[in-house]
C-alpha cells in the first residue's frame, strides 16, 4: 500500500545529517544513539507495517534531562522529532520520516514508586501497560486501561494515544486514569502537569496531552491511578441467532441499570477465526456472540448474571456459557484478545477502529458487510459493544496491490459511515497517518483550525510528529 502521502524530506536537514548526529552524540551516552542503517531499521515503522521510512537517527535516552537536551537541540536545529513508546501504534503514530530524529522512551522503563494508600503509581514512560498491573497485582490492585497490546505497549504511548480496551465501559480510558505527567516541551523545558492529586490546577492541559499523539511534547514520567481489583470476575458467553438481537440485548442490559465491566461483540466470521485459534469453546451455530464480564463476590456475580441472563433470554439468546473455572475464563478472553493475531494466521487484514452510537449497530453492521462485499472482500467484526467501538478486520492478500488498495478504500468507507451515523473516526487507536486525511470528513475547517492553533502553541514550526493527525496541507499557526 502506498496511498498515504509522506512529507518530502527536507534536503537541507539530510545534508546536515553528520553534523546533527555529531551534535546528538555530545548530549547522550554512545549506547543511546543509533546511527547505523541496519540498527535504525527496526524503527522505520510501527504496527502499521505497510508503511515505513528510515529515520535520520534514533535516540534512546535514559533520563528526563537527556530527553530535554535532545529535544532542545532538535528544536534549535529545526529537525523534526518523532516520539516513540513501544511502537505498537496501529495507526502509524510512531512511523518516522527520513528527516526526523526518533526519540524513544523504551530505556526509561522503571516503576518509580507505588502508593497504595493514595492508590497511585509513578512510572517512567517506557514501562509497559501490563508491567504496572504486574507490579501491584500481589496487593490486589491493577491499572485499568487494557489495550489488546498491553503486554508490549508503553504507558507513554498509551497517554499519547489515549488508549482504551475491553474494560473501559466501567473504568474509562487512559485520560480517566492518569493524574499527572512529567513532560518535556520542544524548547527543552521540563513541566509537571498534575500530580498525585485529582483535578490539576488551571486549564486541563493533562486532558489535552492525553491523545495528542506526540505533538505537544514528550512524556517521560506519569502518575497513574491504580484501582483495587474486584473480588472476582467472570466472563460469560452469549450466542445470539442475529446481530440485531445481540445489539438489542446490550441496550436492554444498560437500560436495566446494569453496567458490566465489559461487553464484547463478535460476528460469525470472527467467532470462527478465534475459535480455530484459541479453542475457547465458542458456539459455532450462532451469528453473533457477546462476552459479558461481571465483577464482585460470587454471590454478587450470580445475582448480576441472573439479571443479565434473563434479559438475554428475552432477546432470544441461543447459548449461554458461563466460565466455571479460572482456566475457562482465561480461554474466553484468550479467544477475544487474540482476534487480531488469529486473523493474521488466515489472511492479511487491516484492522479499522471507529466508534458509533450503539443504537446504530444493526444498520452499521449491515452496511459494513455491503461495503466490504462491494469491494469483493471479507470482513470479520470484533468490538466493544457497550461503547460502540468497532474493529472490523478487512481480510485481503497483501501480495496483490489491487486488493490491498481495495481493502484500504473499504476501510475508509467504513470510517466515513461511522461519522455519518454520529460516531467518530477512531475510538482508541488514534489518527496517526492512517486517518489523517479523513479528518476533514469529521471536522469542518474551523474545528480543525482551532485544534491546530492549540497544537501550534506547543510547537509553532510543526516539528513534533509533524505528519500525523492533521492533513499535510492547511496547517495554521497559533
Amino acid at each position: 500500500m502506498s496511498a498515504i502521502a509522506f512529507p518530502i524530506p527536507d534536503q537541507s536537514i539530510l545534508a546536515r545529517r553528520e553534523e546533527i548526529v555529531a551534535g546528538l552524540a555530545t548530549l547522550v551516552a554512545p549506547e543511546a544513539l543509533i546511527t547505523a542503517e541496519d540498527e535504525r531499521r527496526p524503527y522505520e515503522t510501527d504496527a502499521l507495517t505497510a508503511y515505513r521510512r528510515l529515520p535520520l537517527a534514533v535516540v534512546l535516552p535514559s533520563t528526563t534531562a537527556e530527553v530535554a537536551a535532545v529535544l532542545k537541540f532538535c528544536g534549535e536545529q529545526g529537525v523534526p522529532v518523532v516520539p516513540r513508546g513501544a511502537g505498537t501504534s496501529l495507526a502509524g503514530g510512531a512511523i518516522p520520516q527520513e528527516d526526523a530524529v526518533v526519540i524513544g522512551v523504551s530505556k526509561m522503563n522503571r516503576i518509580l514508586s507505588i502508593d497504595y494508600a493514595n492508590r497511585t503509581a509513578k512510572v517512567q514512560a517506557g514501562v509497559t501497560n501490563l508491567a504496572v498491573t504486574g507490579e501491584v497485582s500481589a496487593e490486589g490492585f491493577f491499572y485499568a486501561p487494557d489495550p489488546s497490546s498491553q503486554l508490549a505497549c508503553s504507558i507513554g504511548g498509551n497517554i499519547g494515544m489515549n488508549s482504551g480496551g475491553a474494560h473501559c465501559l466501567k473504568y474509562g480510558v487512559t485520560t480517566n486514569n492518569v493524574l499527572g505527567v512529567t513532560m518535556v516541551l520542544l524548547d527543552g523545558s521540563i513541566v509537571e502537569v498534575g500530580g498525585a492529586h485529582l483535578d490539576a490546577a488551571g486549564y486541563d492541559i493533562l486532558g489535552l496531552i492525553n491523545g495528542s499523539e506526540g505533538q505537544l511534547g514528550i512524556i517521560t514520567e506519569a502518575t497513574v491511578r491504580i484501582l483495587r481489583a474486584a473480588e472476582g470476575a467472570r466472563p460469560v458467553l452469549f450466542g445470539f441467532p442475529t446481530s440485531e438481537q445481540a445489539g438489542a440485548a446490550v441496550a436492554a442490559i444498560i437500560g436495566a441499570g446494569i453496567i458490566p465491566v465489559a461487553m464484547e461483540f463478535m460476528d460469525k466470521p470472527a467467532i470462527e477465526i478465534c475459535e480455530a485459534f484459541a479453542h475457547a469453546g465458542y458456539p459455532m451455530d450462532v451469528e453473533a456472540l457477546l462476552i459479558i464480564e461481571v465483577e464482585g463476590s460470587d454471590t454478587e456475580m450470580d445475582a448480576q448474571l441472573a439479571r443479565i441472563v434473563a434479559i438475554a433470554r428475552e432477546h432470544g439468546v441461543k447459548t449461554v456459557k458461563e466460565s466455571k473455572s479460572a482456566m475457562e475464563a482465561a480461554a474466553i478472553w484468550k479467544g477475544r484478545k487474540s482476534a487480531f493475531g488469529a486473523t493474521g494466521r488466515i489472511a492479511d487484514y487491516i484492522c479499522m477502529d471507529g466508534t458509533i452510537p450503539t443504537g446504530q449497530l444493526p444498520y452499521v453492521l449491515r452496511r459494513m458487510a455491503e461495503i466490504v462485499k462491494g469491494y469483493g472482500l471479507r470482513v470479520a467484526n470484533v468490538f466493544h459493544a457497550g461503547d460502540g467501538n468497532l474493529h472490523p478486520l478487512i481480510l485481503y492478500n497483501c501480495n496483490d496491490p489491487v486488493e490491498a488498495q481495495k481493502a484500504e478504500d473499504a476501510g475508509m468507507d467504513i470510517l466515513k459511515l461511522c461519522v455519518e451515523v454520529g460516531g467518530c473516526l477512531t475510538g482508541e487507536h488514534g489518527v496517526g497517518i492512517e486517518k489523517r486525511d479523513l479528518m476533514t470528513f469529521q471536522f469542518n475547517p474551523e474545528d480543525l483550525n482551532q485544534q491546530m492553533r492549540v497544537r501550534a502553541v506547543f510547537d509553532q514550526r510543526w516539528l513534533l510528529n509533524p505528519a500525523k493527525v492533521f492533513p499535510l496541507e492547511g496547517r495554521v499557526a497559533a
Binding site: A256, G257, T426, V457
Partner: protein, 395 residues
C-alpha cells in the same frame, strides 16, 4: 451594561463577531449562581446562555444526553431520573456557599468542571463530558468530541474547555455520558475519629474491593459536635448488604458505624457536596486538592499558621474544604506555603471581590505552563474578549 441573549448558535457567532472590533470584553452568564467564582472581571457586556435551552439528544440505552448550554441543570437531572439515570459526577450546587440564587445551568457545570463527592470514584465532570459546541473568540462555531464515549479523533479540546470558566469561548451545547442510578444507597458513619485516623479509614475503604462511591470526614464542630467519618455505598440492594457487612468487618478496629439511609443520607451528602457547613459566614473559603493522605498534613500545617481555620475532607481526604478569617489576603500565602511541600494546589472559592482581585484565586503556574496557558487562551480568543482575567491576570 449590555446583555446579549442569543437564541441560536448563529446569533451568538454574530454577537461575538460584532464585539471583536470594538474590543469590548464579554462576561458569560448562565444562571448566575457561580458568577462569584474566579477573579472579578471588568466587563460592560454579558453574553447569556439563557436563550439556548432544551435537551437536544437523550438516548438512555447509549447512556448519553446532550443539552443546550442554558438548560437548567435541574431539567437535565429530572429527565435522567425519569429513566433511572443520573450524571455520574454529582455536580456541586454553589448557591448555599456563595449566597446566590437563580438556576444552575448545564453549560456552567461543563465550563466550571463542577463535580461532587462521587468524583473520587466516578471522575469529575470533565471525565463524563464527551462533546461540546462553542463559539470561539473569532466568532466561529467549533465542535469537539461528539456523542460517543470512546473518541480519540484529534486533540481533546473538550477537556481543555471543561474548567476554563468561559475564558476560551461561549458554550452553546454540551454532551455528557450518564450512568444508571443505583438501586440503593447506604451511608456508614463512624464517630469520634481524629483526622488522621479518619483518612486512614477512608483510604483503607477506598483500597478495598467494596467500591465506596464517596468518602468524607467532618471533624468536630463541622455540622455536629462529634467528628463523623462517612462512607457511601451504592449498588443493587443485595450487594449493599454484602459490601457493608464486609467493610464494617474490614474497618472493625475503628468501631461500629451508624447506618444512614433515605432522606438523612441524601441531606448529609448534599451538605458535603455543597460545603453547606460554611454557608452564611463571612469566612474566606478555599478548596485544596492534595493526595488523600496529605490532607491532614495540609490542615495541620495551615492550622499552625492561620488561627481560626476550620475544615472538612472529601474524596477520602484529597479534597479539603477550608474556611479562614477573610483578613486582607484570605491567608493565601500561608495556605499555599503550607501545602507546597505536599504537592497539590489551592483555589480561593469564596472571598470579597477586592481580595479575589488582589490574590491569585487559582494556583499560580510555573513559567512554562503559564506561557502555554496564555497561548491556549490566545488560540481560542485572540482579541481577549471572553472573561478577561477571570482565571489568571492577563489571560
Amino acid at each position: 451594561m449590555t446583555l446579549h441573549i442569543p437564541t441560536t448558535e448563529a446569533q451568538a457567532c454574530a454577537i461575538v463577531k460584532s464585539v471583536i472590533d470594538s474590543g469590548v470584553p464579554l462576561s458569560i452568564g448562565g444562571g448566575g449562581t457561580r458568577a462569584g467564582l474566579g477573579r472579578p472581571t471588568q466587563t460592560q457586556s454579558t453574553l447569556s446562555s439563557a436563550g439556548l435551552t432544551g435537551i437536544t439528544l437523550y438516548e438512555p440505552a447509549e447512556m448519553v444526553i446532550a443539552a443546550r448550554a442554558g438548560t437548567p441543570l435541574a431539567e437535565v437531572e429530572r429527565t435522567l431520573a425519569e429513566r433511572g439515570q443520573m450524571l455520574p459526577f454529582e455536580p456541586m450546587d454553589h448557591r448555599a456557599l456563595l449566597g446566590t440564587d437563580g438556576e444552575p445551568t448545564i453549560g456552567a457545570v461543563a465550563a466550571g468542571n463542577i463535580s461532587g463527592p462521587r468524583r473520587i470514584n466516578a471522575g469529575a465532570a470533565r471525565d463524563s463530558l464527551i462533546g461540546i459546541r462553542l463559539v470561539n473568540g473569532r466568532g466561529e462555531a467549533i465542535k469537539s468530541g461528539g456523542r460517543v464515549m470512546k473518541n480519540v479523533t484529534g486533540l481533546d479540546l473538550v477537556k481543555l474547555v471543561a474548567g476554563s470558566y468561559g475564558t476560551l469561548g461561549f458554550l452553546t451545547e454540551v454532551t455528557f455520558r450518564v450512568l444508571p442510578k443505583p438501586e440503593r444507597i447506604l451511608t456508614l458513619a463512624w464517630r469520634g475519629l481524629s483526622d488522621e485516623a479518619a483518612v486512614a479509614l477512608l483510604c483503607t475503604a477506598l483500597g478495598s474491593p467494596y467500591e465506596p462511591f464517596a468518602a468524607s470526614h467532618l471533624p468536630a464542630g463541622i455540622g455536629a459536635a462529634q467528628p463523623r467519618t462517612l462512607l457511601r455505598l451504592e449498588n443493587f440492594s443485595d450487594s449493599i448488604d454484602y459490601r457493608s457487612r464486609e467493610l464494617i468487618a474490614l474497618l472493625g478496629a475503628h468501631g461500629a458505624p451508624e447506618r444512614i439511609e433515605g432522606q438523612d443520607s441524601v441531606e448529609l451528602w448534599r451538605d458535603v457536596r455543597d460545603a453547606r457547613v460554611f454557608a452564611g459566614t463571612d469566612e474566606a473559603i478555599w478548596r485544596l486538592s492534595v493526595a488523600p493522605t496529605a490532607g491532614p498534613k495540609a490542615t495541620a500545617a495551615i492550622a499552625a499558621r492561620v488561627p481560626g481555620a476550620r475544615w472538612f475532607y472529601d474524596w477520602g481526604g484529597g479534597l479539603v474544604w477550608l474556611a479562614v478569617p477573610a483578613g486582607a489576603d484570605a491567608a493565601a500565602d500561608a495556605i499555599r506555603t503550607a501545602i507546597r511541600p505536599l504537592g497539590g494546589h489551592a483555589t480561593l472559592v469564596r472571598a470579597p471581590a477586592a481580595i479575589r482581585a488582589s490574590v491569585p484565586v487559582f494556583e499560580p503556574l510555573p513559567e512554562p505552563l503559564m506561557r502555554v496557558t496564555a497561548g491556549i487562551k490566545t488560540s481560542f480568543d485572540p482579541a481577549g474578549i471572553f472573561e478577561p482575567g477571570r482565571m489568571y491576570a492577563g489571560v
